[in-house]
């Protein structure tokens, strides 16, 4: 590949700079962000434009407007009429269903992007990436002769072999069985750790997005709903939408009473909150696992602690989700769907509490409540 890595211009440039607009049938993808030499997960529901974003960066789709720069090279610039074709972008793309060439062996697949190197150099590079992805020995097999996880590794090896300046992964784990996912997640973590350059991971799975990258971009209907450090986004979602997209289950409309005190309108209770900026808040929210459940309250009710009644419960393999009403007992009177809060308990805690008489007490720790602008 006779490509020159254009020398970086003056100024602290991020390795990957993206600012694009692309009209889609349902909405316009309008995204701007930069990525450093570290993984960035792009989280969004299906149809939010995440895959399209990757395809625009890889050069498989043409954006209507904007600019994409990678490692100091301009890959796309609508105002200057620059559009580097996909084959010259040196971007390693991992497709959702791997897209391994079925008529080539694993080795031939990996060597496909190395056509301009000598046979010896090709062999050396293929062996190196096989080792990195732990599939040494499979180079003579055809894709259909290996398992889904091995296909995934082979596809990753093929993308890494070209020594890409960025890697783009489109829902890399969604095509795998559950038991393979954690293995592949470990592989991806290992790959990210060794890789020097921007790595974008597109997923609709909140946990994957969280575990695989410390930086996160949340997409919703083509717009950036949040962008930054993942912990910050999870701790203080900037909007109701982001709170929802990052898995928050409990929301209520809110009205500020005084600094640090809000009325949760849907829950019918007054809450003390840790934030100073209560003025702009139209909603409050709290994550299901942050709720603290006790069988009886103290003699003096603790702060933000309220009596609650169990509406129904739903077990998952290791936890139990309980649906609680803050306004009186029983589903009989209110209908089964009427609950105020959704809490997650460990099985142990559940066993401990499930036979106790109601009302139980639920506490909403002030530091866990987030205030959301409308």
């Amino acid at each position: 590949m006779a490509l020159t890595r254009a020398s970086a211009r003056a100024g602290p440039e991020m390795p990957l700079e993206v600012q694009i607009e692309k009209k889609l049938p349902e909405f316009t993808l309008d995204v701007a962000f930069t990525a450093g030499d570290e993984p960035l997960s792009v989280l969004g529901p299906s149809g939010s434009g995440k895959s399209m974003l990757l395809r625009c960066i890889a050069g498989l789709e043409r954006a209507n407007r904007g600019r994409v720069a990678l490692g100091g090279r301009t890959l796309f610039d609508s105002s200057e009429g620059i559009r580097v074709p996909a084959r010259e972008r040196r971007v390693g793309m991992l497709f959702q269903h791997f897209a391994l060439f079925p008529h080539m062996t694993v080795g031939e697949n990996i060597a496909f992007g190395l056509a301009e190197l000598s046979a010896n150099e090709q062999q050396r590079r293929v062996a190196a990436v096989l080792e990195r992805t732990h599939i040494t020995g499979l180079e003579g097999r055809y894709p259909r002769q290996i398992s889904g996880g091995e296909q995934q590794r082979a596809a990753l090896a093929r993308a890494l072999a070209i020594d890409p300046e960025a890697i783009l992964l489109d829902e890399p784990l969604s095509a795998l069985d559950t038991h393979l996912r954690s293995q592949m997640e470990a592989q991806l973590q290992e790959t990210f750790a060794a890789y020097r350059g921007p790595a974008l991971l597109v997923t609709h799975n909140i946990e994957e997005a969280y575990r695989l990258a410390e930086k996160m971009l949340v997409l919703s209907r083509g717009r950036v709903a949040a962008f930054g450090a993942r912990d910050e986004i999870f701790r203080r979602p900037p909007s109701l939408e982001v709170a929802r997209l990052t898995g928050c289950k409990n929301f209520s409309g809110a009205r500020t009473v005084s600094p640090g005190i809000v009325d949760a309108l849907d829950w019918g209770c007054r809450l003390r909150v840790d934030h100073e900026m209560t003025k702009l808040a139209s909603h409050v929210g709290i994550r299901a696992h942050e709720l603290q459940l006790t069988e009886t309250g103290g003699a003096i009710p603790a702060e933000n602690e309220f009596p609650c009644w169990l509406v129904r419960s739903s077990p998952t393999p290791f936890r139990v989700t309980v649906y609680l009403s803050l306004r009186g007992p029983g589903p009989e009177e209110k209908g089964a769907a009427s609950f105020d809060l959704q809490a997650e308990l460990t099985k142990e805690k559940w066993r401990h509490i499930c036979d106790r008489p109601m009302p139980w007490h639920v506490r909403l720790p002030p530091e866990s409540i987030f205030l959301l602008p409308g």
Partner: protein, 237 residues
Amino acid sequence: MPLLVLLSYAAPRVPVDWSPLRISVETSIAATIVTFFAGLAAAAWRQGRRGPATAIVDGICLLPLVLPPTVVGFFLLLLFGRNGPLGKILLSLGASIVFSWPATVIAAAVVAFPLMYLSSRAALEQVDLRFLEAARTLGASEWRVFHAVALPLAWPGVLAGTILSFARALGEFGATLMLAGNIPGKTATIPIAIYFAVESDDMRHAIAWCLADVAISLVLLGGVYYGTHARVRAGRP
């Protein structure tokens, strides 16, 4: 019993003239080679394109399939004849196509072309776009994407189109007669030779050539069968 009757007709009293067999095979092979590349090129050009231009190209490419071969032959005659646009150019170069062996190839190739075009277009459209996109991100030129990825994946359909084209070229009659005529030993292919043999009541030759045609067809079908089953045995897609 009918076979014996046929064989008695074919029994050599004077040697049978086998030139139509040779001409037919040579013509079909040449026409198939021309059609293979032309049809594949057109199909490759067409791939991933939309819009009015493709509709026009589609129409022109498929015309020979829809029109009666005599009409195709008549158009070719107008094109390559003494006063036709291509005929004039050739004449200025000292060549004349009409009523010569190349005319049989042109007629057969034009008539077989739509089959090659349709089959390979369908086969190329079946190839999953992600393979082509993956190849592009791996630095492959469009030519390499085509010959190293798209073509191998579309190969069964392309091969089927090639065989269909050969079969069509072998059976070509109307356009060939219009453009190349019936010159024994030069342009008389099997179908044309049979027609004129029957017309002049030469049943012996007619039957000999019919049997030759049947033999070629059987070999062709055997080849197709072996080809597809060899692929299955090798476990290729």
